[in-house]
Symmetry: C2
Subunit: 267 residues, 2 copies
């Protein structure tokens, strides 16, 4: 079942909901999960749409240049990428952060990133890889659960109490590594600590054992809008040294990005 | 006027064209050109839709999580990025190329990339930046005119004659730098040369003066599906040295990526 079919009765009652837009977007995401060309029957199956509906949507996407077809087999075109990058065009945060993250990465010799909160996930919007960490595949658009990451905890710490409590209540903590935080009480206490100290450190709780991250908030007009981090390997640096060495340059960079955003808003 | 309104009469005649999908996608791209939140009136103006239609589409996108609204002002959410990355999920080329491009970049100390042909443009689908070239902003999804780039000429050279001639006939050559190729005859001669030698070199014709690139084709099942390149700066290396130094490792990497794609198809 696709997302919008889950509560179709509710949605169909709304005169504002445009079913064919929702269905068309589900066709794009469904085609993105296939590593090869797909038939109209494949699309219909993956989206729970009728074959006739799938056909009209795929042909419309083909006409618009988002899909290419040969001999009844269809695939997405690179034009779909532009659709995604619409988001990056709509926010000045990646552009403002990138040069500062590059300078920070050069100065500390580690990878740096910026991310935003989207629901209960963080989404990477900028990333500078230190050459030595090429093995770890994090790219713009990568999503990770906020609760298990340093950037996520910085962003959760900035939520108003009511919103934070609602989110925590609905959350399921998964053991992403053997060190991922296990209880919501411990998570809440950790978030309180982040609120007090103004930065977060996560020691091998997300992605893979061996990964350390320290993060700080970026503000715009007094509101936290993003987080930036420095990530390193437990093989190279102990958690306590990560904080001692990187906290000051990280906080300075966070202030610089915040100032840059303020400056852009005034232009 | 938005794209699909240009020949609305033609399209409206087709029973297969889903107008509201086309309009919804145009809302996403229009919102991506704004660097801030927009009102429904802004969306209507940018897309040439009525205010009522714009409202239904924006509310549908909000319901689906692609748009976020507060106080009548709307912006895209990072979920839109996922839509774009659908394309990357649908092709195994970036994944197959990335480790080889990283090894190549490390061994030659320059930036490396992979791109696909989309219409008359190349679109970057993988990129490894040598630390020293951070100033130049090329990212996944970046589009450049094929005729002015080395990767583009490799991809044009792989087109059947009829398709190539049709494309060249419809093309307008723009002077991207003072060195960009000026005549279609010269371009055709250059493409013939690329066909013979199996690689292309472009000396400061695209993007900016100072940029050199050498490119080679990647094949899958005997058909060219992508191009990879090494790009460098005219300050560091002369065009003739670029070829002498980098051609062999570039061609070896192109063969390795082609073999990797073949291997994946056989699995």
């Amino acid at each position: 079942m696709s997302d919008f079919d889950d509560d179709a009765s509710d949605l169909e009652e709304s005169p504002f909901f445009v079913q064919s837009l929702a269905k068309g977007l589900s066709v794009i995401t469904a085609m993105g999960t296939q590593h090869s060309q797909v038939s109209l029957a494949d699309v219909a199956r993956a989206t729970s749409l009728t074959r006739a509906t799938a056909r009209r949507l795929v042909l419309t996407l083909e006409r618009l240049g988002y899909v290419r077809g040969t001999d009844g087999l269809y695939s997405l075109t690179p034009k779909v990428l532009e659709l995604g990058f619409s988001f990056l065009g709509s926010t000045s945060i990646p552009e403002a952060a990138q040069p500062h993250l590059e300078a920070l990465s050069r100065s500390v010799g580690e990878s740096t990133s910026a991310s935003l909160l989207d629901g209960t996930d963080i989404v990477y919007v900028a990333r500078v890889s230190a050459r030595r960490t090429v093995s770890l595949s994090i790219d713009i658009g990568t999503r990770l659960p906020a609760y298990a990451t340093a950037m996520g905890r910085v962003l959760l710490a900035a939520l108003p109490d009511r919103e934070l409590n609602e989110m925590l209540a609905g959350l399921t903590l998964r053991q992403l590594t053997e060190r991922t935080i296990r209880s919501k009480d411990a998570l809440h206490a950790e978030i309180d600590r982040v609120r007090e100290q103004g930065w977060a450190m996560v020691d091998q709780e997300a992605l893979e054992i061996g990964l350390l991250s320290i993060a700080a908030p970026v503000s715009r007009a007094g509101r936290v809008v993003a987080a930036i981090n420095i990530s390193s390997s437990a093989n190279r640096v102990a958690a306590v040294d990560l904080v001692a060495e990187f906290r000051a340059p990280l906080l300075a960079t966070a202030r610089a990005v915040s100032a840059e955003l303020e400056h852009r808003d005034l232009r």
